[in-house]
């Protein structure tokens, strides 16, 4: 069912699906959900560092999206639109967790830690260097090269000036270029 829905969803653009949802087509919403669910959960995990909280954020994000219909108009890439509620809901969830548990963890201070395939040690070193970057630099570099957002889209998503995006990206790349563990990626 899911595969079939996802297959059909690939044939229609995000804008077409949103038009259909505005017309009351819940099947189009389902296609959009399958298309972006894992990305939203992954982004939420990047912010919260906790899979249960990431699930909560994912649910609330799609609920927030649902409330936009009918009458929702997409004026940017859909990932750009989703980024803001995911970030804000993640921050709220972490604040709530801190109040409940009294922990002092910072938001988004980690790159998800998972098993590294054998022979991929350079990727593991890259992960370590990324983990050492300031959060705002790390987020820019991941949005740019993992999520494929343009600089303008990152600026819009993070609600910061384009120049700030450029400087953060520049600084992040400089760190990677100068770090012995990641220098090889730059052909040095």
């Amino acid at each position: 069912m899911r595969d079939q829905t996802a297959l059909q969803g690939r044939e229609r653009s995000d804008l077409e699906l949103i038009d259909a949802i505005n017309g009351g087509d819940d099947g189009a919403f389902e296609m959009l959900y399958w298309r972006y669910r894992d990305w939203v959960v992954g982004l939420a995990l990047r912010f919260t560092g906790d899979s249960d909280t990431a699930l909560d954020v994912m649910q609330e994000t799609f609920l927030y999206l649902l409330r936009k219909f009918p009458g929702f108009r997409l004026t940017c890439q859909f990932k750009t639109f989703l980024y803001t509620p995911v970030r804000n809901l993640s921050i709220a969830a972490r604040e709530k967790a801190k109040r409940c548990q009294g922990t002092g963890d910072e938001i988004g201070d980690s790159v998800p830690d998972a098993a590294v395939p054998p022979g991929d040690e350079s990727v593991e070193e890259l992960r370590q260097v990324l983990a050492g970057l300031p959060e705002e630099q790390r987020e820019v570099i991941l949005l740019r090269f993992v999520d494929d957002l343009s600089l303008a889209e990152i600026a819009e998503a993070m609600e910061i000036p384009l120049g700030t995006v450029k400087s953060r990206l520049h600084n992040a790349l400089e760190t990677l270029r100068n770090d012995g563990r990641t220098r090889e990626f730059f052909g040095k």
Binding site: Y33, M58, L66, V116, V123, S150, F185, F186, G187
Partner: protein, 157 residues
């Protein structure tokens, strides 16, 4: 590397990453989050409940919608007011039971929370038997969803 959506303004070589780096970034190990099926079901059920009635409404019916909603709300409020049972939102005990995430609001997030409790098997107590059928199962999630959506349509509770 030129990525989709880039504009020609992005000429600054310093902001480009080598192919090898981009490839490695995309291969970064990512922790997979298992999404329980009940969570998917709850989100999609919320979508169906919100979107379907509007899909069925023909263009000419739109003018009647506010009246229909108002009438339905009046009937629901009347039923709720007359019903002495646990569903009454003014009943603080019932409201507390249904507010699973303890945020002071009965909404679909409570249904999501119940769905996840059922998924991981921690909700077998009578306190989660929302529809009063003696069991705690997906019917209770549906019940809570229906109630939450009803409240949201008439204004957030």
């Amino acid at each position: 590397m030129q990525l989709p959506g880039d504009k020609c303004k992005e000429h600054d070589e310093a902001l480009r990453a080598p192919e090898r780096l981009v490839g490695a970034l995309k291969r970064l190990p990512r922790e997979r989050v298992f999404v329980p099926r009940t969570v998917d079901d709850a989100v999609l059920a919320a979508a169906r409940r919100q979107l379907r009635p509007e899909a069925k409404s023909g263009r000419g019916w739109w003018r009647l919608v506010p009246w229909a909603v108002g009438g339905a709300a009046a009937v629901i409020i009347g039923l709720i007011t007359l019903q002495p049972g646990r569903d009454t939102p003014h009943d603080p005990v019932a409201a507390r039971l249904e507010d699973l995430n303890n945020d002071g609001v009965l909404d679909v997030l409570d249904a999501f929370a119940l769905a996840r409790e059922i998924e991981v098997g921690v909700s077998r107590s009578d306190s989660r038997d929302m529809n009063g059928d003696g069991r705690t199962d997906r019917a209770d999630v549906e019940f809570l969803l229906a109630k939450a959506v009803r409240l949201e349509k008439g204004g957030r509770s």
